[in-house]
Amino acid sequence: MALPPPDPEFVLRGTGAAVHTLHFSCGGPDPAVPVLFSGSENGFVHVWSLRTRRVDTALDGHGRKSVYCVETLGGKDRLLSQGRDQRICLWDLAEGRTSVMDSVFTEHVGFCRCSLLQVAQGRWLMAMAAKALEEVQVLELPSKTSVCTLQPEVGAKLGMPMCLKLWQLNGGSQPLLLAGYEDGSVVLWNLSMGRVLSQLVCHQEPVMSLDFDSEKAKGISGSSEKVLSIWSLNEQQNLQVYKTHGLVNAGISDITIRPDKKIFATAGWDHRIRIFGWKKLKPLAVLDYHTATVQCVSFSDHKHPSERLLAAGSKDHRISIWSIYTQT
């Protein structure tokens, strides 16, 4: 007899607007307070303390335009936020400061979240959608120098890039970029040469979100239709469809694979969060708490497995925190 799905551990209220992005920072070396960053539609980035479960700080750097991506650069003191004001801001949050150190003007008017990859100590690569319609730019941070510009060939008709993922097989090897586009295809780019390695049409509708497991060379993408598409990368760097999984209701906003690669979570337009096993796509749980579209899901990076949490932000202004499958 299966157990009923668990309730949230706790719910964070107080953003005052739809929550579009979440990012945990709990794996800090010092016994620091575990922190959750959230970006909302009112332009604020809220810094939540997971101990007091209250907002510690509210960062206002995007002129009240919606913030749709937050990432940390190696610790909770360096924050990156991307907003609809076409800017990416780099924040310095050490010692209680809340100032914008630097910003990049992307001129991108879409919703494509940028992707970060640490290539060396103190150096990151950031992939972001740029001004031109189908273009993706890769910059090196913090120097903000352009590494390459990835432009599909003329007539490819991929549409806007919808979601990006920078990855490398292991530290030191070539970084590669997976990009999901408006026409439903996922493209693997080689950054050094700036050309397409492989392209796969995964969906009939725009790819809303994707995530990739570099160890197993398997990735997953979700779109506005009722199908999740799982694809793999073979030795020749070719993408192939591995499996598809049908959903009860259409529409996925976000997909995240847990860092231990055991489970992944999807955020659905039907207000539900679904948990699946990563190995075999086994449906594990349907978490039904929110009353509006769930916009983002994120797993925490706690060192201790039993403390791991899952956070989901929704259009109903709430962030639900769940503790699920923490035993393994």
């Binding site: 009923p4 799905p5 499996k243 009860v248 075999k280 594990l284 749980a285």
Partner: protein, 631 residues
Amino acid sequence: VCFIPGGLDCSISFVSHVLGKVCVHGRQKEILSVLVPRLTDLSKSDCIWQRICWRLVECVPDRWMEAVVLGFVQSSCGADVLSRMLGNLVVKNKKAQFVVTQKVLLLQYGHSTAVLQNLLGYLSLDSLRRALLIKVLQELLETWGSSSAVKHSPPEQQQYISKAILICLSHLKEPEIESCRQELLTGMMEGVKCHLDSNLPQIRRLGMIVAESISSKINTDGPVLKFQYEEDEEARELKSLLVQTPLNCVVPSLPDDENEKADASLPLVVESNKKSHTAAPVMPDEELNAELDSDDDLIPYDMSEDKELKTKAPVYIRDCIEVLTGSEDVEKWEATVKAIENLVRKNPAATREVSVELAKVLLHLEEKTCIEDFVELRQRAQVAVLTTDPIPVAKYLTSQFYSLNYSLRQRMDILDVLVLAAQELSCPKSHGKTKHSGAQKSCIQLLPRSDSSKDWRRIVDERIKSKTRRFATGQSQVELASGPNEFNSVAGYFFFPLIQHFDRPLTTFDLLGEDHFVLGRLVHTLAVLMYLAVNTVGVAAMGKALLEFVWTLRFHTDSYVRQGLLSCISSLLFSVPRERLLEDMMEELLETQSWLGDVVEKDPDGDCRRLALQNLLLMENLKKKLKTVPS
């Protein structure tokens, strides 16, 4: 008959005379049942016997020719047999030609399909006779296409002519079709128009089938005419006539019509329902994955609550009205349409506040998205509103029936809704449940398909049954929960407005003119309302008004309308109590009786005659009852 050696001249005119006389006296069956099989056998291979046969029939005097020819046509078991026996009689003999091409096909209609097959097959087997075949086809087509024939001839005759046309078509070859293509086309176009105009569904379907067949024959390459109609036994049988198979003639012992099914039927095309397999999401076999599965540690939670997300319908009637009139949210609109009937029934007080407005919204509701059973849902909702607040809504609906700028479909919807609501109101309710508990023996179908002539007939039949058996059943029926007849107070509001303005034509709606189909439906509606008004206070007044209405329309040319008028009389005779019939309507009833007698004898439509006969029987019963009741 003995063997006649070749070379001897022989006169068999005496035999012909005998044959003719016997046939004319009506003994065709007996003599031909012996003669025909022998001749069939003998003439199968022997030319001399064939010629003897031919001489035999040729020598029959003209005055007996018809009987003989008919006899042969009926008793041969195949067109080739007939051909062997009659030879080119039709070409040589004028009387035989008349019988075969005119009398049997156009003036009579009692013969079976096999006879038609024989006859027309016979005409097609010889090149001399084929000219006659084409002529026959043209004449048949002319009759089929004439609008007065469609209106005034009985349905059985029309079916007979249609069958003949189809068989002719099946015999025609390409070059012949080429030569008369234009006439076929014009004939078909005219005929289809008259047939589709008719109110009887059977006639319409005949027209459709014949038109489709003609079209498929003349346009072998281009697009063909295709109609949508109900496929049942009759339709399939008609269509099977289009294709000819070589008939093997089995010499029957009794050349009767019962053998037709064995000879003439072809394998019926059974339409197979293809089940469409909905593609299930691809889930490849998980056993094939050889990896060690550490996922097994993860126990899934209960996911039974995970269902499709449904939009909720509004809970208040006024919200429903808002959604139905203006909402852009199609999912909500759909949910509202599905939920509105229940809401209306559960909230009678709230419905009464906005009943007329809701009725108006529902009457004008168009299908925005593709919902299953949209028409039924709308109709049920309208019935619910009407039964919840009968008087104002009935006033509104009856006034709209005679207003400008409504489609015929909407006007007929109004009639259907009135009937269904009347039925519901006059039926005793048990514990607020509105399902009919079988107190009514007749049921009116919810779907507004227009096979209503059958329904009304069924109602009248069942009522007659109920009347005549009442002595036997007595009190053995279970006593049903009784309640006040809610139709009593509102029957007048349903009935009289409908009857008031029927003779006043509007620019878009003329009951007495083109829109006789709606007139037919109106008459049937009035019949049912009359029937349901039994035991109400106003039934006598309704009866009198109805009788006058029937009297003015009694000579209407449309048979559907006449059937309706006769059902009105039946309902009247049942519902109005005897004493009131006597006191108020005696003269009118006597006049009606003489009209009914006329109908029984002279009306071309079989159903009308039957209904009129039933009415006369009812009147007789009435008279008898009056005599037996001690005054």
